[in-house]
Subunit: 505 residues, 2 copies
């Protein structure tokens, strides 16, 4: 082995150690959300803080920096998307971000997250955003410090975006958002004034938890999420997906006794994430390539299965008979078309995670614009709640009835503030562009879905998205997979076409 | 703060970090046993190996060594059993053990454990001890190296015992064992030839899993194990207890559909461990004092609740009515006395974890004597299986029908070989001595138990055992709690008295 190849092997062993620690922390997080008795919270906070400082310290050690410098010559010997070049490039990108943040600040941010979570819970308990404000102010102070350290003093959101969507410019994101908003706001109004009412009572009846659970598992299996030996599904307050390796991926769902949508679409959504995690080559385990390309690309997979597939007529052509066998009473006299219309009903409502496909993105816009206003200094934390309600009025035509169903609904701001939500809408945009490309490559894709055969779509995604791990930036990945630059065109066509049809606009 | 007090604070922060890492590894272990899909095994092995080397490296760092040296003067300023003196003393004892073992060897032992576990499973699959031999030989080689490093070349078992039972001499353990064996072997024979037969068919009927689960939870609560906010019970192949802090303690049980003993007595046993963990002052969390005094003392708590209490007539006087309400069909026409006799039936059998209270210790003797013979060079690994069967013949009068129910039954030797089992019999001996002392302090203890009030016994154990954490050595703890040196006297009296009565000897 040459000297450089040896250094490359040393780099990989350092990265393996860092990834082991990150995955250990991930197990602790999963346990906290799914299993941990309440009393364990304090100790768990300590354990996670210790792991995060240690991981940070190991990854940003001078040795790793020197290896990355020395390996620049090695990187040039390999093609751009080879394992070797990608490993060095992606590690260097992460290293150069992380090295700027002092270990002290990492530890303080971890603590602020733990305290922020407690404050957020207390504020929800009191239904009063003011209870949460001091913790959020402290967190913001640390995050501004972090953004300064990262060297994007004038646009902290760009600094945070770099972590979530490598290589993406905030201006590009905002241009995409503006385009989507310009389509959705009038679409929501047109639907509201269409006079067309959708009867979705079928969804809101008593549904036995056990049968809901089984239907959710069925749906997750259809997506291609392996529940036998490489994954599992559990219940948690907020559904999420987490991977400890490509062969140990956990999804969670939540079941509402009188609302069958929540569990079923959570299973479809999380199984989309889960299949992505399981589809990354096992040879990337213990390396920075062994994860999704970005938050947005990850959401493209979950939203694809939840919405583009999971709310399509074709999907329900094959899945509805199965669903009816599980719930004969509830679906008695409800034909397929009525059921399909029900799961696609557009109705502005205060809660993001329960929102329909159309209004969902407007929830994201609200959050993103408030984050931007705060970082620009145009909005004080103390005024966030009022600004929240005003934005909901503007985009969705509703005012949240209280803080719990308004500004306190999401956990995100308890631990981070900035670019926390953009991935959801980017994911919607990407999912439409990817699906359009898959349709070009597999012309009978819709017919196959209608027959209950989701295999061709899964294979296409595996080949063009999953199998690449984190080698490419989101822009690179989308361009290679679809042959076109990332744009909102496919999403516009998709969402306008689908809901114009459904609502006879 | 003085210079020494400052150093003490630094030591505590270093120890806190090490304990956080150990507890993180414990969470990963628990997950592996309770939740992890099969596919996760490889990555989990990596994660645990990384954590163990890192923990070893942090704990045995020169900085910790210097702090411990410098703090000798501080230690002398405090009473022996103060938090300060105990913290320094116990940390130094562990440090001086661990510093002798090179990090490389720690990592190799972790790997050997992972490979040993796989080999053990394969051997069980094939029902052939020879499949396991190569892995055990490799493990033994590393363990001999470890014992040499620890500096007890001529008695490796002593080196390993120091880790499990601090301060205890192997000769003392063996003297206790010889005394117990001299009582039990004739007792088993006397019972066999008493002509008295015990009808325990009541235990071996179909018992619904759900009701078994509930009865187990009831029993665990009676022991004082907090299942509300500080603990939980799950199922696993081998029942065990693990703590991530005093406020997050997990026990597991296993349920057999046709054998009600297994789940119930596992719950009682593990709840005994669990109540010990929860009873350690939360102020010892993140320090080496925040754990049990030794393996033996830990077993004294589990065996106390499983056997001395859980198999007593008094316990069943209050618990049997509850049990009967859960299982009216199974217990129909079975009076209390017959049920009590059933759970105390003495019957030599090949499986340790299913053994009755009397023969149980003989299973331990077999294992301990084989370990000793191997380390002395009197027995080759290849001959272990035959030696196993011969010992069973000698002590229990039976021969295991195969390797799975013989030498391959325990998981222990897959990851360690040496002093792995002594804690179980030491625990039995200690439990009798502690119970005798509690009876002196609380004269109506038995009456209270018969009324279903286990509180006085729990409080006594909390005050004399749990509240001390790992401050004292097992010998010190037993002497302070009972006023007498550790001896087998109480256990002799207990076991002889109980079974002489039950079998009319």
């Amino acid at each position: 082995m040459g000297a450089l190849a040896e250094k490359y092997a040393v780099l990989k062993s350092r990265l393996a150690e860092v990834m082991d620690l990150r995955h250990a922390a991930a197990v602790l997080y999963w346990d906290q959300q799914v299993c941990m008795p309440k009393g364990g919270a304090r100790a768990r906070g300590d354990q996670l803080a210790t792991l995060s400082s240690l991981t940070h310290g190991r990854f940003t050690s001078p040795e790793v920096g020197e290896l990355l410098t020395d390996l620049a010559a090695y990187e040039r010997q390999f093609p751009y998307d080879s394992e070797e070049a990608s490993m060095i490039r992606v590690s260097r990108r992460q290293y150069e971000q992380r090295i700027r943040v002092p270990t002290r600040l990492v530890a303080e941010l971890t603590r602020a997250g733990t305290e922020g979570y407690a404050a957020w819970l207390a504020a929800r308990e009191a239904d009063d955003f003011r209870v949460f404000c001091p913790a959020l102010e402290r967190l913001l102070g640390l995050l501004r410090e972090k953004a300064d350290a990262l060297g994007f003093a004038h646009a902290p959101l760009q600094a945070f975006l770099n972590d979530i969507e490598p290589g993406m410019a905030l201006a590009d994101v905002e241009a995409l958002f503006a385009e989507v908003r310009s389509v959705l706001v009038p679409l929501v109004r047109a639907i509201a004034s269409s006079g067309r009412t959708v009867d979705d009572a079928v969804l809101y009846q008593p549904y036995a938890a056990r049968a809901q659970w089984e239907v959710g598992l069925d749906a997750a299996k259809l997506v291609g999420f392996d529940l036998d030996t490489r994954g599992r599904q559990d219940r948690s307050v907020h559904p999420f997906t987490i991977a400890f390796s490509a062969d140990d991926v956990r999804i969670t769902t939540r079941l509402a006794p009188d609302d069958v949508r929540q569990g079923l679409f959570a299973s479809l959504h999380e199984a989309g994430h889960g299949a992505y995690c399981q589809g990354i080559p096992a040879s990337y385990d213990r390396t920075p390539l062994g994860q999704g390309a970005s938050g947005g690309v990850h959401e493209s997979q979950s939203r694809l299965w939840e919405n583009i597939v999971g709310r399509s007529l074709e999907f329900w052509q094959s899945f509805y008979p199965r669903f009816r066998r599980c719930f004969p009473g509830q679906t008695d006299g409800v034909p397929l078309e009525r059921f399909h219309a029900a799961v696609n009903r557009v109705q502005p409502s205060p809660i993001r995670v329960e929102a329909d496909e159309v209004t969902y993105n407007l929830h994201i816009m609200v959050r993103h614009e408030l984050e931007r206003a705060v970082y620009r200094g145009d909005l004080a934390v103390a005024d966030l709640a009022d600004a929240w309600d005003a934005k909901y009025e503007e985009y969705l035509g509703i005012r949240p009835p209280n803080h719990v169903q308004g500004i306190l609904q999401d956990i995100h701001w308890s631990g981070h503030f900035g670019a926390s939500f953009v991935g959801y809408t980017l994911g919607n945009i990407m999912s439409a562009q990817l699906f359009e490309a898959a349709l070009r490559d597999v012309p009978d894709l819709r017919e196959r879905i209608a027959l209950g055969d989701l295999h061709p779509l899964r294979c296409w995604m595996n080949e063009h998205v999953h199998a690449l791990g984190a080698k490419l930036t989101p822009a690179e990945l989308i361009e290679r997979a679809t042959g076109a630059r990332l744009s909102a065109a496919a999403y516009r066509t998709y969402v306008t076409g689908k809901f114009t049809d459904l609502y006879g606009l």
